[in-house]
Each structure stands twice: as C-alpha cells, then as structure tokens.
Symmetry: C2
Subunit: 213 residues, 2 copies
Amino acid sequence: MQLLGYWRSGASYRVRIVLALKGIDYAYRPVNLLKGEQRSADYLRKNPQALVPTLITDDGEPLTQSLAIAEYLEEIYPEPPILPRSPSLRAKARAIAAAIACEAQPFANLRILKYLTDDLGLDDAAKAGFLNRWPGGALNAVEALAKETAGTYCVGDAPGLADAFLIPQLYAARRFRIDLSCCPTLLAIDERCQKLPAFAKAHPDNQPDAVKE
Amino acid sequence: MQLLGYWRSGASYRVRIVLALKGIDYAYRPVNLLKGEQRSADYLRKNPQALVPTLITDDGEPLTQSLAIAEYLEEIYPEPPILPRSPSLRAKARAIAAAIACEAQPFANLRILKYLTDDLGLDDAAKAGFLNRWPGGALNAVEALAKETAGTYCVGDAPGLADAFLIPQLYAARRFRIDLSCCPTLLAIDERCQKLPAFAKAHPDNQPDAVKE
C-alpha cells in the first residue's frame, strides 16, 4: 500500500493515524502542495479533486477521501477495530468524524484562507472571526458530542475513527489560532492520544516531508 | 423511527432517500429552521450541532450527521444494500458521498450565505463567484469521480449512497444557480434517479413542511 499525502494536511494525518492504529505497513509518498504537485496530470488521474491523501491499494486502485479510506481499512483490516461494536455507538463515532470533516475542516485549510485574503480581501481580524465562527464553532459542537460518548478517548476507552479525525483538527486549530477554551473534553482526549505511539508515528513533524519553520 | 428534518435541507433529503430506498417506515417530524427551532433546548439535547437531520432510533437514541445515519441504516437494514460489495467500490461510493458532504455542501447552505452577506458584506456577484468556485468546483470534481464508476447510477447499476448524496446537492446547486454545464454525467444520473419512486418520495416538495414559493 502507498499513501500519497502531505505532512501537514489534516486528511493525510487522519489516514496515517488509522494506518498506525491498525499497524498496517505502507510506503509514504509526499505530494508537495506548496509546489502544486496535486494538480499534476499524473496525480489528477488518481485523485480528480486534487486533494490529499490518496491511498493506492495493494491492487493498485487509487482511493480518495479520508472517511472512505478509513472505512476501507476497517473493512479489509478489521483488527484492531477503529469503530465500536454497537450500531448506535458506531453511528456516534462516525458522527464525530463527519462533524469534523464536514463542518470544521472545510473552513480551516490553506486554500480557503488564501481565497478569503486574495479574492475577498479579508484582513487578519476578519479572518480570525471567520476561523472562530466556522471551524471553531464546529469544534465547540463536537465538544458536546464527545462529552456524551467519551471515556479515555472520543468514544469509550479504545482509540478509533473519531480520535483519528479529532487530533488533526486540533492541530489545525492551534496552527490557525482558533480559541479552544470551550473544549476541555477534546483537549483532555488530545493529551491522552498524544501519548500513544500510533499518534506519534502519524504526527506531521515525524513525516519525511516535514519542514521546520 | 423518527426523522427530525427540514424539507429543503440537503442532509435531511439524503437521509429520506436512504430510508425510502430501503423501504423503512418512519415518522417525519419537521424542524423549522427559519423559525430557529433547531436552537431550542429540547432539540439541542438531541443534536448539539443545531443541524438537521436527527434520526431517533427505535431505542430512542438520537443519531446525527447524515453520513453516520446512512451507515447505521445500512448496518441494521442491510437489504437492499446502498453500498456495493467490493471493498474498493464501496470506498469509491463513499468517496463521492464524502466529496459532496465535505467539499460541496459546507459552502452551499443558507447559514454560510447569510454570513457572506451579513458579516462579510459580499454583493450578489461576489456570492455567485463564491458559489461557483467552492460547491461548483467540488461538483466538477465529483463529475470526474462519477465518470469512472457510473453505470445507470453513480456507482454501477443500483441506486445507493452516492446517489443519495448527489441528488440533494444538485437540487441545492439549482436553487443557488450554480453552473452545472460541466457535469453531464451527474445530470444524466439525476434524470434517472428522479424517475425512481424512492427519490420522488424523498423530494423536498413532497414533504409535509414544504412551502410553495
């Protein structure tokens, strides 16, 4: 298996966590977003959205979208599971992941921030307002979801899908200086996840394409 | 089962399609977004994100997030399936649904458009630019994904998860006057889906809370 990703991309980070939690071996192939490598003809054939990551399966099939890739990995490598057993708890774990993927991440990435600056002419104060309202507001709601299901991790006492989505989003939130003071449950889960080897292995700073700033 | 939703909400529409495809009986309970009913204390206890829909299971458990609800329904009512059998095709169906949920829908709803007008002061031309760039751009990429997997419907010849996400997004795209001229595959799938009773039953206009404009 190959993972085509970028060290600081939240969606790449999510999939790296899932791969590490399951102990799956893979080759990491960096796609340099700053150099626009995601828009090369070769990459677009694998990922027409020009987004990272892309997982190349053992059969050479390119898979896109971190949520879809995570479910694929759960189906073909069921142990250890990243979802609980009970259907309604599985739904609650998936809801946390989806809330992050659909309500937080779309508003907390470089391409939308570049658009806000270059196309809409927003100043730093307006951008901070945008970040705290949209991805920040979504994380406040995720706090309420996680409060209901959390044990040691987002859902119960085993790390899984929801944590694989939460930790990269908190990393982005810090990078973009989003106020996290209303998210004590999420911050406590983050602290516990950071102690696990799988999360350390998947961390952006520990990737071969990481750049020291 | 009860579905708490709003006639014109894309995420409610998706879940109605899945319920109808599976022939599941449910009670529909409208939540009037224009009156702010999603922010009532009672609703927030079920759905802390103040979003629709919420599915109340037979056990009285409130489930949120359309992607999570669709997977739950697939797990507890497996027939007819909304996902193909092969793991990589399942991933491709989920990728189309996720691309719509994570890249198109977040930028094509009333709350973000209200923010663009009220908070950022965008005029109609700037809003049209925003809509064609973000949800419009995402649909163009979904066109490329669907081109690869489509038969009669998004993935092969049975309607399923990807169609349940696509059709409501095209409905929103028309409502917000997004240019769909680069999406012939998606428009052809739309036409075929609209002929199916399940899609007709789920259509916004056929809900008890629909308002004629």
